[in-house]
Symmetry: C2
Subunit: 156 residues, 2 copies
């Protein structure tokens, strides 16, 4: 929960090609249905029998549920950025659905670093985040633009 501390990374500590890997988290059928009931109440996310008749061919998590779990993994174990993880936006896709019982982890790679011209205390890190299940299938690709603090002068 703390966004400061000696092991937190500033923009100046990042380099293109740097990689991070989060811990894993299992997504249960009850969680898939609870998220869907609250935010994406469609048959293929709520009901196994109904889902079999759809293009998902079985119960699948909402893509936004996969995105939310990806965020939790990155906040807690994935990307130890000073100031926390603040996204300005990005490109997202879901090449495969998350299924009940899947264990997901996130593999991230810094692809671009853009210091701000107008605000010398910050910049943008573009990070490619792949959310991967226990069968090594990529269930989400997120190319995220993160706002990252520069290292304060005098702090090492």
């Amino acid at each position: 929960m703390s966004n400061s501390g000696p092991d937190r990374l500033y923009l100046d500590d990042l380099h293109v090609g740097q990689r991070f890997r989060s811990a894993s988290q299992r997504i249960g059928e009850d969680e898939i249905k609870a998220f869907a009931a609250q935010f994406d109440p469609q048959p293929f996310h709520l009901d196994e029998a109904a889902a079999r008749e759809t293009l998902f061919k079985g119960l699948a998590a909402s893509g936004w549920h996969t995105a939310a779990v990806t965020m939790r993994l990155n906040v807690e174990t994935g990307l130890p950025l000073a100031g926390g993880l603040v996204g300005a936006g990005g490109e997202i896709s879901w090449p495969a659905p998350t299924r009940p019982g899947d264990s997901l982890h996130v593999e991230s790679e810094v692809v671009e670093l853009i210091p701000s011209r107008s605000k010398p205390d910050r910049g943008i890190a573009v990070v490619m985040m792949r959310t991967i299940n226990q069968r090594d299938e990529v269930v989400q690709i997120l190319k995220a633009k993160l706002m990252v603090s520069r290292r304060p002068i005098g702090r090492h």
Copy 2:
């Protein structure tokens, strides 16, 4: 919840420039904190006092919470597509944060229609979705690629 019915739209029923507007939904402080505790446990989403010291200058919803509420609004009152709302991916940005007590609605516009070459029963609709608060500020822009069914032969 039903994804069929006479008033549901197939790809063939959509045209570029077509607009849709969802109902509004209020987002309370408790909901913001509950979502954050589960999926985005960072101080600026969890604690008003801590949030004032961050670049958010006060409690703000996780962008993924705004995305999830946007999905619910579109599923229930925004986009009445046959087969439901199935996203392949898209581009997302959060120009302003969602604040406690904000009422959000979604304004969507069809910007491109791409029938599948390999699968004659479906296609992609590219839809620009703007999530807007009660002060007419845009809190999220999502350019979504949705998989949409073609009208079955013989069904009118």
